[in-house]
């Protein structure tokens, strides 16, 4: 199977946050391919190449999903639940990226199988730092599940 270029899916409805994330990733030199979807349903459609993204070519799977929690239609936790229920995305690294510091969100996120939980700080420097850490960890250091190496 052909090895794809690593791709990150960002699920974010706030254009400011989207742009900031993009800037942060750019500064960290890991924003090779960033796909952005703006609601939960679209995220699932994109991942499973269905609905509005049916026939997406190539229908490859991202190396990492950055998932906001507060989303239109389906919220982030529901998206995570659906991902973990599907064989194709069961082991995909998912980092919850949100401004919420609610404990129950954090707990629920981990319960549903989030790999990491990053609170978006107000301080852009810190945010950039966090994103960089994430990018390096998940894209470079972390050995992807066997599924992706096939």
């Amino acid at each position: 199977m052909k090895q794809h270029e690593p791709v990150i899916l960002l699920v974010e409805d706030n254009p400011d946050d989207e742009e900031l994330t993009r800037l942060a990733l750019t500064e960290s030199n890991i924003a090779n391919r960033l796909y952005v979807v703006s609601d939960g349903q679209e995220a699932l459609d994109w991942l499973f190449c269905q609905g509005q993204h049916a026939g997406r070519e190539p229908c490859h799977i991202p190396s990492m999903v950055l998932l906001d929690l507060k989303l239109p239609k389906l919220d982030g936790l529901e998206v995570l639940k659906a991902m973990r229920a599907d064989e194709r995305t069961k082991r995909m690294p998912v980092v919850i990226l949100t401004s919420s510091r609610e404990e129950r969100d954090i707990l629920e996120g981990y319960n549903l199988g989030a790999n990491s939980y990053i609170q978006k700080p107000v301080d852009f420097e810190q945010f950039t730092h966090a994103i960089r850490q994430l990018g390096i960890y998940w894209m470079v250091l972390n050995e992807a599940p066997p599924h992706f190496q096939k």
């Binding site: 742009e19 507060k70 107000v122 852009f124």
Partner: protein, 605 residues
């Protein structure tokens, strides 16, 4: 429980209503028994007096009858005395005397004596010649006495039976003693004619002579001579009568050996008449009457007692039921109502209690409903607050992030197109965004502290503050600080909250020691009034103690300049956390002398 309320207790009275009722009944019973006994005693005494009075009457009757007998014999003797001195003693005189003797059933013989005391004629001729001159009565008659009655003689000169005599002295008109008529009387025959009254069973009448010797008794008893003489030893009444007084009372019968109600009446010649009745026979009727009465009274009293007990129970039972109902209600049986029965007062109390109980239940129900309502409202408002916090947390931060992020991006990547004042404004925007982010965090922490339940555990302070200290050092790496945490200091508190509190206190200390060459900050614990007081001490600017009370108000800052950029929320948050733990926070400080924040945690933590 019987958290027995302080009841006044009397040593004399039983504590319960029932006991007191029974005491009342017992008292009434004792009183009526006492009255009954007294009336019986009165009846008994009256009966006794009656009997004694009637015995006295009988005794007087005996006295009169016997006196009349003696007088009659004396009269006959006197009549004979006119004739006899003129007649020659002989057969004719003897016949005359015998005719006279036949008038009296009890007279055994009539003798005519010479002045010297020799019997010259007699209704019983064998007696002629006997010498009576040694007899007391004869000597008295010879000296001039008209009439003498002898004591009982053990044996007569003729009859050989106990006998007494009635002697009459015969004198001529010049007073010369001509002789005596001596009438011998057989006392055993007295009763047949002379004393014939019929007496009830157990009664008797008696005659005693001047020596107190029993002369006669009816009904007759076989009595030996010695016994006849012993009456005086035992019969005080007899002694009294011999002294000339009438006497009544109880005495003791020598002959029958029983107790008697008796009367003794003194007579002429020193004799005593008496009547008596055995106590048993006298009292039998009244004893029977009293026994009957007592049986009847006992029955009546028993009936009354049963009735009284019934009434007592009709009072005490409703009271006890009421007590049980009230106690049961008091112990939480809120549906329990008192039984409205018994005496009106008790029933009234019961119905008043029931009204009160119903009111109380209604109150309770409405109170419970109110609490439920309030709880629901509170929960709703808590949920709203939570939703609000969530929104604040999520939505308010995003625009700030955009402000900060894009300002920084401009500063970093488009700096060449900005002049210095433009850069300055961008820096201001960044700082303002930072501060607002902190404010939001503090507000959320405040809300969290208020609504989160406490989860107490032992927390190691050194371990807890380590990341805080690292963050402080990282924020200002150039500063030299000497931070001293008491080793193995442990605190029992909610880990998350105490972390926030220490974070704020250390942050506060850190900021206020900024100007010191070497910042000195210490964390420890001292005992104040036997309570553990934890402290955070710094050698910073300090402040005037007159502002100390304003220190813990939200949004209040002692120093409005940006020197020590706090939000004004930190100490308010700490105070709220300490209060949540039931503790107290205070501060000691002076300008330029540093500050020490103390806090205690409550009893339960």
């Amino acid at each position: 429980m019987r958290d027995s309320a302080a009841r006044p207790r009397s040593r004399l009275l039983p504590s319960g209503v029932e006991g007191r009722l029974y005491l009342l009944i017992a008292l009434a019973l004792a009183l009526s028994l006492g009255l009954l006994g007294w009336s019986y005693w009165q009846r008994y005494q009256a009966e006794r007096d009656n009997i004694l009075r009637s015995e006295l009457e009988v005794a007087k009757g005996v006295e009169e009858t016997f006196t009349a007998f003696v007088r009659d014999v004396h009269r006959t003797s006197t009549t004979l005395g006119f004739a006899l001195p003129r007649l020659k003693p002989g057969e004719n005189v003897n016949k005359l005397l015998a005719q006279a003797a036949q008038q009296y059933a009890s007279v055994s013989e009539i003798n005519w004596t010479s002045p010297q005391g020799h019997i010259v004629a007699s209704s019983a001729p064998p007696a002629i010649g006997a010498d009576l001159s040694d007899r007391d009565y004869f000597q008295k008659v010879a000296k001039g006495s008209q009439l003498e009655v002898s004591e009982l003689l053990k044996t007569g000169r003729v009859s050989k039976q106990p006998t007494f005599v009635v002697a009459t002295g015969i004198h001529n008109s010049s007073g010369e003693f001509l002789g005596a008529i001596v009438v011998a009387v057989d006392p055993t025959r007295l009763g047949s004619l002379t004393l014939t009254q019929v007496r009830p069973e157990g009664s008797s009448y008696v005659l005693f002579d001047s020596n107190g010797v029993l002369v006669f008794r009816r009904p007759n008893l076989e009595t030996s001579w010695e016994e006849r003489g012993r009456w005086l030893e035992h019969d005080d009444l007899l002694v009294q009568a011999q002294r000339g007084q009438e006497a009544v009372g109880e005495t003791y019968s020598i002959s029958s050996g029983v107790r008697l109600f008796a009367a003794r009446v003194p007579m002429e010649f020193g004799w005593v008449a008496g009547a008596g009745r055995t106590v048993d026979s006298a009292l039998t009727p009244i004893r029977k009457a009293i026994a009957f009465d007592m049986a009847l009274s006992t029955l009546l009293i028993l009936a009354m007692l049963v009735f009284a007990l019934f009434i007592g129970r009709s009072i005490s039972l409703p009271l006890r039921r009421l007590e049980q109902d009230v106690l049961a209600f008091g112990q939480g049986e809120s549906e329990r109502r008192a039984n409205v029965s018994g005496p009106v007062e008790v029933a009234e109390v019961a119905s008043v209690f029931n009204r009160m109980a119903s009111d109380l239940s209604a109150y309770q129900t409405s109170l419970e409903n109110q609490v439920k309502e309030r709880t629901t409202e509170l929960e709703a408002s808590n949920r709203e607050l939570e939703a609000f916090s969530y929104t604040v947390a999520h939505d308010l931060r995003s625009p700030l992030r955009a402000l900060d992020g894009f300002s920084r991006h401009l500063l970093r990547h488009h700096a060449e197109r900005l002049d210095d004042s433009g850069k300055g404004y961008l820096n201001r925007i960044t700082r303002a965004a930072q501060r607002m982010g902190n404010l939001i965090d503090d507000l959320l922490n405040m809300a969290n502290v208020a609504r989160r339940p406490l989860q107490l555990e032992a927390v190691d302070v050194g371990e807890l503050v380590a990341p805080i200290l690292r963050a402080l050092h990282r924020s200002d790496p150039g500063r030299e600080a000497d931070i001293d945490i008491s080793p193995s200091l442990s605190i029992c508190a909610d880990r998350h909250m105490i972390f926030l509190a220490l974070e704020q206190l250390l942050d506060n200390a850190w900021r206020h020691t900024e100007k010191r060459e070497i910042a000195q900050i210490s964390v420890g614990m001292v005992h104040i009034n036997d309570k553990k007081a934890y402290f955070v001490r710094d050698n910073g600017d300090g402040f005037d103690m007159k502002y100390a009370n304003k220190l813990f108000l939200p949004f209040h800052r002692l120093d409005p300049s940006d020197d020590h950029a706090g939000t004004g929320m930190g100490l308010a948050l700490v105070q709220r956390i300490v209060a949540r733990h039931g503790g107290r926070i205070w501060v000691e400080s002076a300008p330029d002398k540093g500050a020490t924040f103390y806090f205690t945690l409550g009893e339960n933590v």
